[in-house]
Structure formats: structure tokens, C-alpha cells
Amino acid sequence: MNDMSKTLDAVQKLKFYQKGTLTVGNRLVVEDERSVQASLDRSNALTCGHRACQGCGEALGARYAMDAAMRVTGGNLIAVNATGCLEVFTTPYPETSWQIAWFHSLFGNAAAVAAGVAAAMRVKGRTEVRTIAQGGDGGTTDIGFQCLSGMFERNDDVLYICYDNEGYMNTGVQRSSATPAAARTATTPAVGDAPGNVFGQGKSVPRIAVAHGIPYVATATVADLHDLEHKVLKAMSIHGARYIHIHVPCPLGWGSAGHDTIRLARLAVESGLFPVFEAEYGHVTGTRKIRHKVPVTEYLKLQRRFTHLFKGSVVDEARISRLQAICDRNIDEYKLLASQGDA
């Protein structure tokens, strides 16, 4: 076993279940088990001064993901960004918050552009340089979906990271295929008989990624940043197409308080609405168990995009129970409760 995998295993085994605190408690663990963010030599890939909103989950997730990737590659990293919030708030010309080689081409082609970068590095014999593509849910689950699937199918040596804030937030909070049912957006207004987004069939891009049989797929949230870092470290230790889907609350689009970003990400997991799992070569290999199962209403009530469900004298029990059913189905599907054993 080499040093890297030893470190990875050590990170994986850590649990930070301290009573009464939501922090990961870095100071309580030994040095080489601490998070990348806790180290003095973190790269600050996405440095301060950018223009994200207060409490932005995407900025937080991107910072942790990229610093972890920079550590594991020794700084030999090229990042390709889809158009979207992350691109806009980091690079208002002539300023940039990226302290890494960073490239933006279009909204829907990040996976293909990254495949091109990876091909260039391969042909030039610079095997030490690794490539990451990143985008929001619109650039991933909608407009960039074809390029993403093509990159998966060819097994290009690219890690694609989707920061899922469940809508087109950069253009003013419109619905995407990742927007949850019943959520209010600018294009699914909270009016009429069935306010908010429709109950469709859903579109789990992580599951679609698993169906491609690629070497590594993981979901993560900004509520468990140590887990997120671990997954990025693990993904970068593997070659071929890899996919990490990170749930990132958006105070602006969700109508939530900036200080509730981490709490919302945790409630999304604890309710079962966002299953956190890993998969390798087409098979789910592990899930993060729910610690304290909560009803979905605890998650919904903190967000103004769902207030129409609770407004007035009548609570919209029917649609709330449909949302709860989605959570329960996820819990069964991924065996998210400790009592259900391994997935």
C-alpha cells in the first residue's frame, strides 16, 4: 500500500460526529488526517475577492474541490469551466480569482473542451498534468449533457464536477432539469392550481453516470466537506472518466439565509432527498448513512422557493407527501439508514 492510499483510507475512516457542533473539528485530529483546507500549504485555487453571493454553496464547494485536486496533483492541474455562476463571479475581466490554469469556452461544452485539454497533455507526454471540468447543473444536466455523456463513453481522462444548485441561478433563477418538484423558480412561478415546478420523472445524472460504467462516480454536499475532499482525492487517484455531483445550496435562488447553506445541505442528506454515495465501474460501492432522519418538511421550510406549500390555512399535504415519497424511495434504493445494511 502506498502513502497516498494510506492517507485516503485514513481520511475515509474519520467521522466527525461531535455533539452540538456542525464543524469538522480539524484541531482534534492528527495533522495528516486534517482537511486540505486546514493546511497552511493549501493552494487557494479559488482565492478571495470573487463576486459570489453571501453563503454561496458553489463557491464553497469549488474551493474545497479544487484545493484538494491541486494537492493530489502537486499543482499540475488545468480546469475547464462551463458558463454559469462559477465562471461569471470568478472572472470579471480583467480580474480573476483562479490561481490555477483555467479556461472557459462555452455553456454546453465543458466536458468536450476538457477532453481536448486531456488529449493535448497526453500527446505532449505531459502525463503529470490532470484535467478537471466543472459546471453548474444547467451546464451539466441540460445543455452540456450530450458532451458529458460523450466524454463518459470515451472514458476520457477527465474529472467532471457538477455543482448542483438546482436551477439556472446566473440568469435569474429559472428551472433546470435538476430543479426539485414544487420548487418556485422564475419559470415555474408559485401560482395556479399546482404552484412551482412540476412533478416530472426526475433526472439523476449521477445515476446516468453510473450507467456509463465509468471508473468513479460520487455525490457529495457542502455539509460534509471532509467527505467532499476525500472524494476529489480519490477521483484524482484514478484515470479515465470520473464524475462528482455536489449539492450546493443557493441562498439567492432558494430564498434561504446565507448562514443556512451548510444546514440545508445537511438536511437534504438527512431527509433522503439527496443520497450521498460512491460508485465504481457501474456499481454503487458505498453510501453515507443518514444519522438523524428528518421529515422533508424540515428541509423545505427553510426555503422561500417552497413557502407556497405551507401558505394560508391549508398546508399542501398532497404535494408534501409526494416529496416525502421521493425521499423514502431514495432511502430504500440506496439503503440510507444504518438499519438497512449496505447498499
Binding site: N76, G108, M121
Partner: protein
Amino acid sequence: MLKQIEGSRAMAEAIALARPEVICAYPITPQTHIVEGLGEMVRTGALTNCEFINVESEFAALSVAIGASAAGARAYTATASQGLLYMAEAVYNASGLGLPIVMTLGNRAIGAPINIWNDHSDAMSMRDAGWVQLFAETNQEAADLHIQAFRLAEQLSMPVMVCVDGFILTHAVERTDIPPQADVDAFLPPYEPVQVLDPKEPISIGAMVGPNAFTEVRYLQHHKQNQALELIPRLAAEFRQRFGRQSGGLLRTYRAEDAELLVVAMGSVNGTIKDVIDEMRASGARVGLVTLVTFRPLPIAALRNVLGSVPHIVVLEKSLAVGMGGPLANDLDSALRNLVAAPHIHSAVAGLGGRPITKASLHRLFRAALDGGWEGTHFLDLNEAIVEGEISRMREKRRSGPTAESILRQLARKSGPAAAVSGSQL
């Protein structure tokens, strides 16, 4: 080395001689044989140090090339027709980013109605996209232009589109000289990017630019294209010196001396036009030809120089801007703007969707121009009976059905598909 080969094969061999490092392939007729040839050369080891990537769409093809080029690799792809439209967003992106990608366009009509045959509608759709657009007249020039294109693109850091007539050039088997690798290496040095993604010197490329700088960025793109107007003739001269033949350049003239009428055209149709000019010259008509090789940037000074003092011009083009007329004629009009004695421009649209442009039709057309010409846009060999029949049929009832299918039915009812080219009189 002289070879009797298909145009696509000749282009593939010329492209391979340019040592591309990343090739992205997606099939669309009629460019497909080119990337098939390159794929085979990578597999057999005839082309080494090259990543050949089969992508899932033209949008991805150019996007992969964009990534590869930004990371410092010499990148190539090819497309045609609908494929160019499907990658349109990336076409503009590549030029805006100043990436020296070379792309072959196997010129083909755009649907609907779907049509796989040759015209220049696809190239015209991207004429303002910031790419250099070169048009090949022969298989030899199609091969040679690719070697020049990489040098041009990389020297100025901007993308170049080599436009070759679908089927007429891509599928015709002709004798073509494929130069030795050493000569191409001497002509085309390794790619030295002006900007590159490199972790050793990390920079951000592709930032958002607001009103404070956007005009300047665009102006410099325009400025760069105008530099190509100087570089293209220099490269053609250097190419001629090294390889012993004339290929490329801004434009070429044929029997233009003392001409009363000059024809302006692009691509393979120039061969037919030269034959017609020879025949007309033999009977005393003062006609000549200007073959436009470089369509973008438009060589305005060179065009004014050769066309400025001639009384009549026929612009013969395989493209139509619906609702306006011939786009090349329009460009010529603007190139000759404000001349004291500007020539009379006669615009003719011909060869749409692969309709053959015959010598007989060209004779009629050029004669008509010498006899005073016509106003507006002339559609060469338009079947007027069919058109009028369809117009009156559409007038008769509201739900007249789809036009294309109705015309095909009418033609079948008459004397079969040959009726389509019965010809119209000027």
C-alpha cells in the same frame, strides 16, 4: 510524389504531413472520407504523435479542438453543412479566443429540404464568424491549402476554414502531388502558441468582457484578419518557391487583360468557367475571370485593383441569402463602393444543392451580361414552369402542403427528374 487518388485522401495525406496532434472526427457527408483517412493513418502508424478522437457531435468536435488548441496542441477537425451549423456557437468561440484550429469544410447545401450535394450555403452561414475562409479550386489546391492553413493560422493565432466543394473535389479521383515530409516540415514549423494553458504558468483564458473592452477585443480581431491579407500572398509565394506550384493567395485572374466582362467565382466551378472563357475569347468576346481564393478576410484592395476599371462583372455564386440575393455579389458591391466608375455588377446564383453548372448555361449567362445584363438576382437554370405552377397551386388552397414534396411530385408526373434542369431563358 504524384498519386492518382480521391480528393479526400489527398487532403488527408496533406493534413497528416502538417503533423496535427489532435484530430476530432464526426461523420457528415461529404467530408467524412477525410477523417476516415486520417483515422486509418493514426491506426497504421503512418501518422504518429496524434490523438484521433471520435466525438458524439460536431459541437463536441470543435469543442475538443478548442480545448486541445488552448492547451497548446495543433488541432484539426472537418465538417460540412448541418454539422457547421450545429457547431456554430463553437465556431465563433474558437475565433473569439484566437485559437489556430484548422477545419475543412466539405461544402454542402443546408436543409430543409435535406440535400447532401454541393453548394456554398454552409460557408456563407459562417462568413462573419471570424475565421479565415479559403476556397480551393482543384484537388491539388485543396491539399496544398491545408499545409498553408496551419502556418497561417498559427502565425496569426486565429482559426482557418479550408472550403472544398463537396463531391466535386472531395470525391473526385485526380492526379495529385503529395509533397515530401521534409519539405512540409521546412515550410511549417512546430506550433508555438501565443497563449497556452499550462500549470507552470497558470493563467485564466475566457474571462467575461464588458462594454469597457469588448469593442477593442473585436477591433483587434478585425485587425488580425487584415494582417492575413498581407500574409496569405507571402505564404503562397513561399509555397510556390518551395513546392513549385501556385496554390492559394488572395485571388487569381485568368485572361483578364482588356476584358469587357470579368466573372468572379469561388471553388471548383472556376474550371468550367475557364473553358467557357476560352471558347468565348476564340470568338472574339473580351471576357475574363477572377477566382477568389480568400473570401475572408475579403481582399478589398486586390478586388478594387482587378475589377475597378472593367465595365461589367458577373458574380457567379453557389449561395443565396434568402430575401436579399447573392451574398458574394453583395460583398463585391461593398468592396467596389464609392469608385468613380464602378462596374455594373450582375448577380447570378447557380449550382444550388448540387445542380450541375453547364458550359451551355454559362455561355448564355455571360452573353446576356455582355448584352447589357439584368437587374437583381438571376437564378441560373431555374425551372420557371415548375415554380409558377407551385405558386399558383399555393394560391388555390390554404392547406397546400409542403412545397418540396409537391415539386418532386410534379417533376415525377412530367418526364422524370431530368425535367428539373430544363433551363430558363434570360
